[in-house]
């Protein structure tokens, strides 16, 4: 919703610039450039919000920040651990249909995110020469 509202404002602003402020500029080319900038900044905003929602480092940081005396490794793991990480993600993947559960076993549902995972692995291999950070 926010993205669409912002996009509409962008179109109105571009028309104003083209009709009133700098009328000799190419409308189409400018619009394409502004749309790319808008989409890019929207994506960055989405990433920032998503970091707060899913990033492990942010969660760990917040747990330690909430404990002024500090936390040992065991204390961190008591508050945030692999079980919670897996459960949260399983819920999300099930809700989006990316995985399905049948007779207590998980299967791939909609394959879109699986394809994304394979593309990321391919890109990781091209750039870093390995398929996982643990290789």
């Amino acid at each position: 919703m926010g993205f669409i509202f912002g996009f509409l404002n962008l179109l109105i602003f571009e028309l104003y610039i083209y009709l009133v402020v700098i009328p000799n500029r190419s409308f189409t080319v400018n619009l394409i450039t502004e749309i790319i900038i808008y989409a890019a900044l929207s994506y960055c905003y989405f990433v920032f919000i998503n970091l707060g929602e899913t990033a492990r480092r942010i969660r760990i940081l917040r747990e330690v920040f909430d404990a002024p005396e500090g936390l040992s490794l065991e204390e961190i793991l008591r508050r945030y651990n692999a079980k919670e990480i897996i459960e949260r993600r399983l819920q999300r993947l099930l809700a989006n249909g990316q995985i399905i559960i049948e007779e207590d076993k998980y299967y791939i549902g909609k394959p879109l995110m699986l394809w994304m995972a394979k593309i990321v692995v391919a890109f990781k291999f091209i750039l870093l020469g390995k398929k996982s950070e643990f290789d």
Binding site: E53, L61, V64, I76, Q98, E103, I108
Partner: protein, 175 residues
């Protein structure tokens, strides 16, 4: 597409130049990664893209290639915004995403499916949590004081930023 019409960048060329320079920065990044992987990937990426941007801005300004301040701002916004897109997406390459890893593990199990217990056996704290704590220490966001992890000043600023954004959205702690 006209490049440097009358010695100035024409409208289309802002888009063209921006994308070409981004590709150039990406190629430099690719070759540096192949030659010598930096210790801090994000900082190195920021340095490469900033250097490419600054070098080109200096060239364009020397040759008075921009028609107006609007062109300069538009070009800068284009380059910087696409740089931020790449750098923010790069973390998916640097660090294994648990969700994507889970999908790959489930896919590998094939038609037999994967029991949940098997997922817990593979994806442990040593795989999911401890490497991220090490990252936080390496990035000087946390430090170890005897046997307790504490937040650095930099870490406190980051934590407050996310606490504020989460409270504005009225959402609980993520993870």
């Amino acid at each position: 597409m006209i490049f440097f019409k009358d010695g100035k960048i024409a409208n289309m060329d802002i888009l063209f130049c921006g994308i070409i320079l981004l590709l150039a920065a990406f190629l430099i990044h690719f070759f540096i990664w192949k030659f010598r992987l930096p210790k801090h990937h994000t900082k190195a990426l920021l340095a490469i893209f900033a250097l490419v941007y600054l070098c080109n801005i200096i060239v364009f300004l020397i040759f008075l290639a921009f028609h107006s301040y609007y062109d300069f701002i538009q070009f800068s916004l284009l380059f910087v915004s696409l740089t931020l897109v790449y750098i923010s997406s790069y973390s998916a390459v640097e660090v294994d995403s648990p969700s994507l890893s889970m999908l790959l593990i489930i896919a590998e199990a094939g038609p037999e499916g994967l029991p949940k217990e098997k997922l817990y056996d593979i994806m442990t704290d040593a795989f999911l949590v401890k490497p991220r704590i090490i990252d936080l220490v390496n990035d000087k966001i946390l430090f170890l004081d005897k046997d307790k992890y504490k937040v650095t000043r930099k870490g406190a600023v980051i934590a407050k930023m996310f606490i504020l954004s989460r409270s504005l959205l009225k959402t609980p702690k993520g993870g």
